[in-house]
Amino acid sequence: MDLPSPTHTRSLLDRFEAVFDEEIAPRLQARDHERVALARKKVRNWILILAASGAAALVMFFLTRDVDSVFMALPVGAGAYWLLIGRPTKRLTDSIKQEIFIPLCDALGFTYHLRPDGSNARYFTELRLVGGFNRSRFEDEVSGRYDDLDFSLVDAHLKDVDKDNSRTVFHGLLAAFEMTKSFRGRTLVLRDGGMLGNFLGGIGNKLERVRLEDPRFERAYEVYSSDQVEARYLLTPAFMDRLLELERQLESKVRLAFDRNSLLMSIELNRDAFNIGKLETPLSDKRRLLGIVKDLTMIFDVVETLRLNAETKL
């Protein structure tokens, strides 16, 4: 498989390929008929959806004698789509994901949950790592220990919905890492919002603004802390460099919080993480591993780039 990447990604991919070939692929091959059957049903189901929508449109028109009322058939079409195509596809995708993920995570000593409760997402909002939300979807929680550090990572899609519109607040990964450094206060590393944004963001904020020496870091981030010295103890010049480097590697916006002896992190992907690809190719297609490996290596990137486990504690 062609995946230009750091050494750990390469070795991870090699390990995953071995597990995939030995354990996962035979099971997926045995289930490939489910995918084929679903694809076959898809054509028939599309005809049913169109028929149901057309019938609903006709009924609406005869009831109201108003051409505009035919658009009221759209929800019927959407409902039929979800029932006949969306839901069965999602069920199969979820089931396949578990077939792939559980053995892969087992091989690394990690734990996997397809539908975590995401109960600590409110804590991320409290720390301003993600905005306020009232609708949430959590998937694919991976937790475990890497390089003697406990971590957990979950794919989150958070929305703020009111009766007029729906806005995505966050779509990406929420991660938590245990820290080797001990600290008592709270330090937030948020995105720089420009002069006005920073001013508005500071209103009602009980934490003090921390100005750091690195101009590149200052351009990218805005740091707040309950303890000026502790903030600098955590955000050493080397750590600031590494964080900028990590963001470049991940090509995503990152926000951090140091709180209760943990490092919490939101990584904005604007897509679903741990994607196994579409169901148009055979289930045992090895390319399904690529999305998983790419996202899973973020854990290693964070630990290794930020050197969270470093003995020197710098």
Partner: protein, 192 residues
């Protein structure tokens, strides 16, 4: 001249002067707060010293000068000083820096005493010392940032005028490296 215009001429500059003055004083207080945070961290480090020196005294009988030097340095750092006097602050910070260098030298010399190295207290003390150093380094960065703000406000016109009138003086930076660290290394010394 109308009363309104007259008031404007007096009140507006008065308000500007007051705001500038208030800014200077708050920056000076911020720098003093940062200085006190350095003292808090230095104190943590100093609390480690008596036990280390007591234990080291048992084994490092040939390093009497080093141990006595550390005790004297500790006393110098612990001595009170006037935070409003830049020279006194500078002397205090220099003593802190010298003690740090002295401690680093002590741990390096301690490597030559296996009995001492094997003592659990020393190994724990060294870990705590490294941790304390990281906190001191953070406090130093906080202090230097606060001093930069203060000194800019004091030295740039018209702040310089108001500072002179309010008797706010620039404060010294805490430079980390001592001259021995900056000196070029002669490789020949290591190749003899």
């Amino acid at each position: 001249m109308e009363l309104g215009t007259l008031l404007l001429i007096i009140v507006v500059p008065g308000v500007i002067l007051y705001v500038w003055y208030a800014k200077l004083i708050s920056r000076r207080n911020a720098a003093r707060e940062a200085l006190s945070s350095i003292d808090v961290q230095l104190k943590k480090r100093h609390d480690l010293l008596p036990n280390i020196l007591k234990l080291a005294g048992r084994f490092m009988t040939h390093e009497k000068d080093l141990l006595e030097g550390l005790t004297a340095l500790r006393a110098r750092v612990d001595a009170g000083y006037d935070p409003s006097d830049p020279a006194a602050v500078q002397a205090h910070l220099t003593a802190g820096q010298e003690l740090q260098s002295g401690m680093a030298r002590f741990f390096a010399v301690a490597e030559n005493y296996p009995e001492l190295r094997s003592a659990e207290t020393i190994s724990k003390a060294q870990d705590t010392f490294t941790e304390a150093e990281a906190h001191i380094s953070a406090a130093r960065r906080f202090y230097n940032a606060a001093v930069t703000d203060l000194n800019n406000a004091v030295e740039i016109f018209p702040g310089s005028m108001i500072a002179g009138w309010a008797k706010v003086k620039p404060m010294p930076f805490w430079e980390m490296e001592d001259s021995s660290h900056r000196a070029a290394v002669n490789v020949d010394d290591y190749l003899k």
